[in-house]
Symmetry: C2
Subunit: 143 residues, 2 copies
């Protein structure tokens, strides 16, 4: 069992991906007008890629186009003393191909809000994030 300098158990890539698959909600980290920004998103796994659905005209869609982003997911108990956190860092891409959009639309992927399921623009927008760099930690409970 590998433990980092802060006493957190270091998770393997396989453990990280298994944990990512266990929860539908994460937080995407990007830059908005030169400031750090973070927004909750629903995501799903499509092989070795994370898929995020958002509204076509959203700030998120514009901000993360072809940029390096992070996506974090975590689950903690109520007092934050036990749990895990996994972070993926990679280059985000917007999906433009209509056949690929049709395929992604069949994934079990709810948008974060019910209204973005039918955005004013009438179009769903998919952001894909290949799981290039993934890291995760689990809080160890010491007796």
């Amino acid at each position: 069992m590998k433990v980092d300098s802060a006493g957190l158990r270091v998770l393997s890539r396989a453990e990280c991906i298994q944990l990512l698959a266990s929860t539908p909600l994460g937080r995407i980290v990007f830059t908005d007008r030169a400031l750090p920004a973070i927004q909750p998103v629903n995501y799903t796994l499509d092989g070795d890629t994370l898929v995020i659905r958002t509204a076509a005209g959203s700030k998120l869609a514009a901000a993360v186009r072809d940029t390096i982003v992070a996506l974090e997911a975590d689950v903690f108990d109520s007092d934050g003393r036990t749990g895990w956190s996994v972070t993926v860092v990679g280059q985000a891409h917007a999906v433009g191909d209509v056949h690929e959009v049709s395929r992604l639309a069949r994934l079990p992927l709810a948008p974060w809000t019910s209204r973005t399921a039918e955005p004013a623009g009438g179009a769903d927008h998919y952001i894909v994030l290949p799981i290039e760099q993934v890291s995760g930690r689990r809080v160890c409970t010491h007796p």
Copy 2:
């Protein structure tokens, strides 16, 4: 009730601060070797300032010294369809004054891991983040 373009209810500053006070765990967003980074942290409110406790020699302590960071907290139900998210953006500072460190040590603030409570360096490190810019959204449930 103000609603944004994605159908999310826009929270007031007072609502944001009340929600921030309701949960001990957030995620701090910073830059690590030019890449977006995010790490869970326990925090507490000290007036209009967020206080984060970490180990003196930690990567986080070094990375967020006198830089603009974001801290996000959220609570969602299991499928991510209802809940809230609040983000603070501001300039983080390390607390150097020993009297101020003594005062902060009396706040009800647990570090994220039990081991960082007594780091190898023997010293606690406090990061303060004035709540300058705060924004929050709540997912509205439509019938």
